[in-house]
Symmetry: C2
Subunit: 225 residues, 2 copies
């Protein structure tokens, strides 16, 4: 930990605003993931960027702002990935399954930094908490939409409640998965879909004839991988 940064040799070049911003976010995400929010200093991020501290403030206003920007970017990426994954599905079951797999796979591959992002809605200030909660709301909108097609007979309050349940369960599950290397993304997705399918069953419209892509286990305990 004493040498210069290998990816950014002493050559501090001037960069365009956009490029610098991306670089800063990359570095910040990594350092936050390594040390946690509190234990990370702005000086360290600046140094690893090969830039001085006021630059960070120029771009993100505050340490909180930087965190929020990181979270927003990652959540947007996650949202995008899950949305694309679900796009190809036909049956509600399939939507759920694909969405879950995409979700857990994404988090698995970003585990270090994402573990922080999930657990770090660290409410520095109320505004920060709000900003982070807002990104969560996008995700919840997506889920609520899926639920609505999934269970059209369910009343609005139930949809809303179940959306929260599913989000909370997913986040916790993701966190748990990062501490359990023997649990794959598919395993996690299977636990979730099995549980959710049943939970939603009272509102389910009987699915069309056997779909072309029967997801995983119907409900029996999945074989331990």
């Amino acid at each position: 930990m004493s040498g210069a940064t290998p990816p950014h040799p002493p050559r501090r070049k001037r960069m365009s605003r956009a490029a610098r911003e991306r670089q800063m976010l990359d570095v910040a995400e990594q350092v936050f993931g390594e040390r946690g929010y509190q234990a990370t200093s702005m000086d360290e991020i600046a140094e690893r960027c090969g830039v001085s501290k006021p630059m960070l403030y120029e771009y993100f206003g505050s340490k909180d702002g930087l965190l929020v920007a990181c979270v927003s970017r990652s959540k947007a990426e996650l949202l995008d990935v899950t949305q694309k994954a679900m796009a190809g599905a036909t049956t509600p079951e399939d939507i759920l399954w694909r969405g879950m797999v995409a979700y857990f796979t994404f988090i698995d591959s970003h585990s270090k930094s994402f573990a922080m992002l999930l657990r770090e809605p660290t409410a520095e200030t109320p505004e920060t908490a709000e900003a982070i909660e807002a990104t969560r709301r996008q995700q919840s909108t997506l889920i609520a939409g899926v639920l609505a097609t999934f269970a059209p007979t369910a009343p609005a309050d139930v949809i809303e409640a179940y959306t929260q349940i599913i989000m909370g369960a997913s986040e916790r599950m993701a966190l748990w998965q990062t501490s359990r290397p023997d649990v794959s993304a598919e395993d996690a997705a299977r636990y979730m879909t099995d549980f959710c399918r049943q939970g939603l069953s009272p509102y389910l419209t009987p699915p069309p004839p056997p779909s072309s892509a029967p997801p995983p286990s119907a409900q029996a305990p999945p074989a331990r991988r």
Copy 2:
């Protein structure tokens, strides 16, 4: 907000260690709840206690230590309340219902400070995060135990996974409830039990003859209160 503290008139009396400690925890819980962890200064807590800052460090070692102590105490209380509530139950269904109602009722009555406790696993340092996660583990042990009696046929990995799912869902639900004044603790408990009962159904042992205390709605959308 400019006068002296009404509960503690200017009379700074010497107090026993135990009493002072309790008082400090009470004050800290309140202030953390009001301002959030970051925005709270040790000086303010000390002042509201009618005591000087080094006293806080004498008792809790650090700001993190104080947070952990608050969280531990509250979680222990929560655990106790839910445990006691479930003790009187007979059927698994009833256990689940009573536990959930106790959980959401407790959080509802402590909403301000608890919203923070839930969302503030703020991972100041890794050790702090660990300490807080440990209190969560107690809760998960309780849930896992319930699940095991609830669904004796379920394999261990499923129990573990579902425990995480239920914990995540409960916490999220609790947070959601604090932002929705029209949702009562019973409503929240009903959403959760309805969802969980179904989710667990594949592993359920058929319940004994109609229990004496059939909880709430079987599964139909509960009447909006």
